[in-house]
Structures are given as structure tokens and as C-alpha cells.
Symmetry: C2
Subunit: 154 residues, 2 copies
Amino acid sequence: MDGELVEENISIPEKKYEYLDHTADVQLHAWGKDLKEAFEQCAMAMFGYMTTIESVELKEVREIHAEGDDMESLLFHFLDEFLFIFSCEPYFIIRVVEITKFDTENFKIDAVGYGEEFDLQKHPQGTEVKAITYSAMQIHEELDKSEVYVIIDI
Amino acid sequence: MDGELVEENISIPEKKYEYLDHTADVQLHAWGKDLKEAFEQCAMAMFGYMTTIESVELKEVREIHAEGDDMESLLFHFLDEFLFIFSCEPYFIIRVVEITKFDTENFKIDAVGYGEEFDLQKHPQGTEVKAITYSAMQIHEELDKSEVYVIIDI
């Protein structure tokens, strides 16, 4: 009975449905000549998901410190510290991340981020980053290239 | 060292990152006076996620048949059959779903869907539905109200 509709008396039923629990994630893949650069790039990838990153000027600087028990938790907390900078007023969006201390013996990082206060008039709204996750996290260090994979909840 | 930036010579690093594997899902919650209506509403909820459903006219009808081994797989295949109608050319978008046979003994459904060919000029693009899932599926049948929960990949 597929085909053209001849009946004209089909009624549109009342809506008895709703949409719940939208969840989503995206995997960041970042790399560099060493692990330090791969970490910096990963943080910049996170901010790049939040807006059109080219719209961000380098007006101010913010400093973060992160510690971990291993490289995975160090990467997690490093990103989480930067996410926190964006998460509370005045929301601060970062374009350039530089790690100033990268201690892979004691799992400590000092880093700075250059950017400016987030302004919807100036910065196109990208996607909200809700959380960093450990899910399927990968950290690969090699002689001439290192890379990391991090899944973030959006 | 947080604060105004005095250095003017911070360079913007080359991008060494990419975004991979965007995944997302949404949970459909649909209900009705009985399970048959809840199933119908669930299929309409799925189509309602694909476009602004009010833009869809009832021009043609499509028929589907679904079978399962239990109510969960029956619901899965029922939705999957309707998803298939949208998934191949000519893409057909459905506004009204009516189940004409609802056999919960043998787990068989016959149903029709009223709608029209999908047309981006006419139907605002919603979100692509990639797949039905069994994840956290729930089917509740009670005397005066039944409801179902289905997570779909988008």
C-alpha cells in the first residue's frame, strides 16, 4: 500500500514524547615533537572546540599548576585546570598554551595560557566542553614525535 | 603572573591537533494509553529529531513489517524499519505512524507511516539518526499508561 495518499482524514496525533539525556563526546588528537608540545597542543585543541580560535586575541595571561600520579592523571589534571579557567566568571578563553615546567618524574606541570575574556559578541560560540575523561586516553612518546588522545564530554 | 599581558612577542603555534570520532546519543521517551500507542509515539519521536516535524505534510504512505524475539527486539526492529525508509533514496520523512497489527504474542508489527519525500528546501535539517540501540532500553506496560525509552545514536 506504499504510494500516493488518497485519504484526507488522517489526524495528527498529540505529541506524547520527549528527548532526554543528550550526551556527546569528541576525541582530541594532538601531537608534537615531544610530549610537552603534544600536551600544549591538546589544551589548545580543547579551547579550539569552544570557539573559532582565530577570534581570540592574546591580551592577558593565566597560570595553572597541575599534578598527577602518572602521565595519564597529569594530562587529565592539566586539561582540567585549563577547563576550570573557562568555567567560572570571568570566563577566559585561551589561544596559546605554553608549558613552563614539564616534570615527568614527579608528574608536575606549570603552564601559562594567553588569551582574553570570553565575549559572545566577539567569539563565535562553539561547543561547551563539560568534562575531561580518562576514557580510551592514550599517550605515546617517541623519539621524534609524541601524541596524545583524550575524549572530552561535550 | 596572571594578568595583563605586557609581552608582545608571543607567537601563535602551528595547529597540531584534530578532532576525531564525534559520537552522541539521545534518549527517546514516549508514552501512550497502551504499548501500541507508545511504540507509535516512539517512532514519531525519532522522525521529530530529524527535522521540524510540523513542516512535514501527509502526502504519501509507506508500510513496514517488523518482527522480533521479544518486545525489546520488536521495538528495535520496528524503529529500524522506519529508519531505513529515511535512509535510502528517495529519503522519506514521516510525521504520523499508525500500527495496524500489534501482535505481542508472536512479536510482529505491521505499521504505516504518513509523510512525504524529504526536501531540504522545505524541511529544516535536524540531526541525523545513525542507529537505534538496545542500550538501557525500557518498555513499561501498565493498565492505563505505557511507556518506552530508547537511546538512538546521532
